[in-house]
Amino acid sequence: MTDPRLEIIGRRLEKVEGIIAVSSGKGGVGKSVVASALALSLRDKGHSVGLLDLDFTSPSTHVILGVEDLYPEEEYGIVPPLAHGMRYMSITYYSLDRPAPLRGADVSDAIIELLAITRWEELDYLVIDMPPGIGDATLDTIRLVEGIRFIVVTTPSKVAYETVRKQITLLRELEVPILGVVENMVMKATSYIREQVEAERAVYLGAVEYDAELEDTIGDVGALRKTQFYRTISGLSKKVS
């Protein structure tokens, strides 16, 4: 039996100019908030932008951006609604606030389903908040989304970077372009991550200082835009756009 969904994923994304996957080998490094702020900053610069949350077991961009009471339109598939001027797609339209206890193969199937049925309009950028790690979901997304390019998020921690290093190696082996590495939640300036990234011959996109104000802005895009965190991400977005 042949899966007919695989045939149409490329067609669903053909009007998208650039696909940027924000990922991390490890959870808890701020991947989702970086993805949300990156998408928002590209929108604020006048680009047409979509944001796709593929972190199905822990979706959070809807919380960060305060997306509520939206639902996709059905039109020869599904059309993501506008949230803060961006086309926004998340599994939470269907799972609501309930846990989604999905095993790896189920996550893959759900990702394939969503990629196959979601109709993206003409976009300058589609930012994808990726599932953490390098398991089924990440491998399938890489396999199915042509032209995907990665931003890898780490913290200054050696523990976090060790997983990021493995992720960079994997992406290289899969011949997936890496736009660069973002060092998030920096509390004390050191050159460790920059040196490590450059030793891998990857691009160090920059450091994002830990912003104690950020938590208070969760769900409030207006407040998020006023943070130092957002200004830094907005600056970094010029390097990847």
Binding site: R5, G77, I117
Partner: protein
């Protein structure tokens, strides 16, 4: 209207396979429909009909339905998917993304959400028949 997206996939896949196999005309496309996806067959058939490519212009679309069978990974209980008792919202969520079954359904034996969908998940192209080009 989600049926249109799946129909587009079926037509596109059947057409590609027919071209690869050197068929000049497809006579039958058999589609397996998993019960979990709760496809509205009238809409699906209409969409397939509207999306026909020249190679599929005379093809008959044949549907076979696979009942949804679920098996608990904790206690081993097996049961049949029954859309009848679901609310409209839950039914629609599973219709769009069948994996949402894990969000809303529980094992009737032990209450665990950790189960596998053994059969009847979604839509698959089962087979195509056609006439091979002479050359």
């Amino acid at each position: 209207m989600h049926e249109w997206a799946l129909a587009e996939g079926v037509v596109s896949t059947a057409t590609r396979i027919a071209e690869e196999k050197g068929l000049e005309r497809v006579t039958e496309v058999k589609v397996n429909i998993g019960e979990l996806q709760q496809i509205e067959e009238d809409i699906f058939r209409f969409a397939l009909d509207q999306l026909r490519t020249p190679l599929l212009k005379d093809a008959e679309f044949v549907f076979e339905t696979t009942p949804g069978r679920l098996r608990c990974r904790v206690c081993g209980e097996e049961w049949s998917f029954s859309p009848g008792g679901l609310s409209e919202d839950v039914s629609e969520a599973i219709h769009f993304v069948p994996e949402m079954a894990h969000v809303y359904l529980k094992c009737p034996g032990c209450g665990s959400p950790d189960f596998e969908v053994k059969e009847g998940r979604g839509v698959y192209l089962a087979s195509i028949k056609g006439i091979v080009r002479d050359d």
